[in-house]
């Protein structure tokens, strides 16, 4: 096993995201990335932060129509990650500081990476 960095994974709720990120910023952590993994009925968002050799991950489980606040108010550099997650997974991230309005990859069909099957509501995919 390659054990070389101090890695902690912490599951938090959507409402506690901004305070937790604020605390990390105040302590000097930097943002590494934001990652999305699609489950069958939810999307999992992993926010990675780093300080020196430490690596802390905040994990959120997001239901399909839930709204997630944007952390660009704390870390401006997160806008590219949030735009990408919104485009590829369909997660509703609100108030991103620099918003590319769905044009990161500009695909023909949206939400390509999401495995959630929406039965009743209308799909927003289709040719742009």
């Amino acid at each position: 096993m390659i054990e070389r960095e101090v890695l902690t994974v912490e599951e938090i709720e959507v409402s506690k995201l901004i305070p937790a990120v604020d605390a990390l910023r105040a302590a000097g952590w930097r943002i590494i990335q934001i990652l999305g993994v699609s489950g069958a009925d939810h999307i999992e968002l992993n926010y990675s932060f780093g300080l020196g050799m430490q690596h802390r991950i905040l994990r959120l489980m997001v239901a399909p129509e839930a709204e997630v606040p944007s952390i660009t108010s704390v870390f401006l550099g997160a806008y590219l990650y949030e735009n990408e997650i919104r485009d590829l997974f369909g997660v509703k991230i609100e108030r991103i500081a620099v918003d590319w309005l769905g044009k990161v990859y500009d695909p023909v069909e949206g939400k390509a990476f999401s495995k959630i099957t929406v039965i009743a509501t209308s799909s927003e995919g289709g040719p742009r």
């Binding site: 096993m1 390659i2 070389r4 930097r30 690596h55 550099g77 044009k103 990859y105």
Partner: protein, 367 residues
């Protein structure tokens, strides 16, 4: 704007890219200019998105390393190595010592060839064609060494899950290090031009300034971060054989394009020293362990230092031979916000220089 109109000059929007002579890879900008100064920039990526992250669900996890290597041409070995390390962490495999040192050898060789390529492109961006080709001529010997040891000039093809796929042998490694000696002398001569030539300094100093605070907040990595004074290099974790090698990050404080050139020149010098040390200390032994069966359920996070910065790999396995999720967060993806910040305030002729200063590898960014 014709000269007889007395209207106040307003902002002009100029599209830049995706086809442009200095861009190594397609990237589009809508630059808002006032006179010749850029006041805003809106980037647009997505020209070469291939969906390689979805492809991992269709390919066998042992074969996918060859696809991971081809995410990008210049940083290819480290993509393969990062994928292998992530899968090996889930499997719990211990890679043999010689394989770890060979992987370090090829990583540093890749760093040298990538930085030499970048030096050439950066010289081309401000029009110094002679320096461009002199850097690339020096790079040819390095790539020949890569072909002799690994089989491929740019895509090495030697990282596999469980170790490396071939052993060049100590004799070949020593001969190759002797063949690279003239390249080191040549790079020292070229470094004098980069540092001392007044026209080069005029084009690079003070251009594209990013402060330490902004670089840190915007999530910049690699030479972009180290040129602004932040002392962070992912190799300090000690992965592969880096824990057993003398190594210190190369840091500058000026935060402009000149500082990034100096960081990369320093890293080439440091990589040559590391290559010497690796070839001297390489242990004997097997170079791979056989891997069979399905991977267990689990996930792993791996961070490496590519030539362009810190790269993060995430692999999640659900117990079958196809992995559930593979994610690469490449350094260029992290540097794009910092680049957009650096472009504001430069004149139009300096835009290519600033774009190239993050060493954009758009194939990596878009997978």
């Amino acid at each position: 704007m014709s000269s007889h109109e007395k209207a106040a000059p307003g902002p002009t929007v100029i599209p830049f890219g995706p086809q442009h002579p200095v861009l190594p890879e397609p990237l589009h900008f809508d630059l808002t200019l006032e006179d010749e100064k850029v006041v805003g920039a809106i980037p647009q990526i997505g020209y070469i998105h291939r969906g390689l992250e979805l492809l991992v669900e269709k390919r066998d996890y042992l074969d996918y390393v060859h696809i991971a290597e081809r995410i990008c041409g210049i940083c290819s070995f480290m993509h393969g190595m990062g994928y292998c390390e992530a899968v090996e962490t889930i499997l719990g495999t211990q890679v043999p010592d010689r394989a770890r040192w060979l992987r370090t050898f090829w990583s540093e060789l890749e760093r040298v060839h990538s930085h030499l390529l970048w030096l050439g492109l950066a010289a081309d961006a401000f029009g110094f064609e002679n320096l461009f080709h002199a850097s690339w001529r020096a790079r040819e010997t390095v790539i020949d060494v890569a072909e002799e040891t690994s089989g491929g000039r740019v895509i090495f093809g030697s990282a596999i899950v469980g170790g490396v796929s071939r052993d060049p042998g100590d004799e070949t490694l020593r001969r190759c290090m002797k063949a690279i000696e003239p390249v080191r002398a040549e790079i020292l001569r070229l470094a004098q031009v980069w540092i001392g030539e007044p026209t080069v300094r005029h084009r690079l100093s003070g251009v594209g300034y990013v402060s330490k605070e902004m670089a840190y907040t915007l999530g910049a990595v690699g030479p972009m971060l180290r040129a602004s004074g932040v002392d962070y290099d992912a190799r300090a974790q000690g992965y592969e054989a880096y824990g057993e090698i003398e190594f210190k990050p190369v840091v500058e404080t000026a935060g402009d394009c000149m500082a990034r050139v100096l960081v990369r020149l320093g890293e080439i010098e440091q990589s040559f020293r590391i290559l010497d040390e690796v070839v001297a200390k390489m242990p004997a032994g097997p170079v791979s362990v056989p891997i069979k069966g399905m991977p267990p359920v689990g996930e792993s996070w791996i961070r490496l230092e590519q030539p362009r910065g810190e790269v993060l790999y995430f692999v999640r396995s659900n117990g079958t031979r196809q992995l559930e999720r593979f994610r690469v967060r490449t350094p260029t993806f992290a540097n794009i916000p910092a680049m957009v910040e650096a472009i504001k305030g430069v004149s139009l002729a300096d835009v290519p220089t600033v774009i190239l200063t993050i060493d954009p590898c758009i194939s990596c960014t878009e997978r």
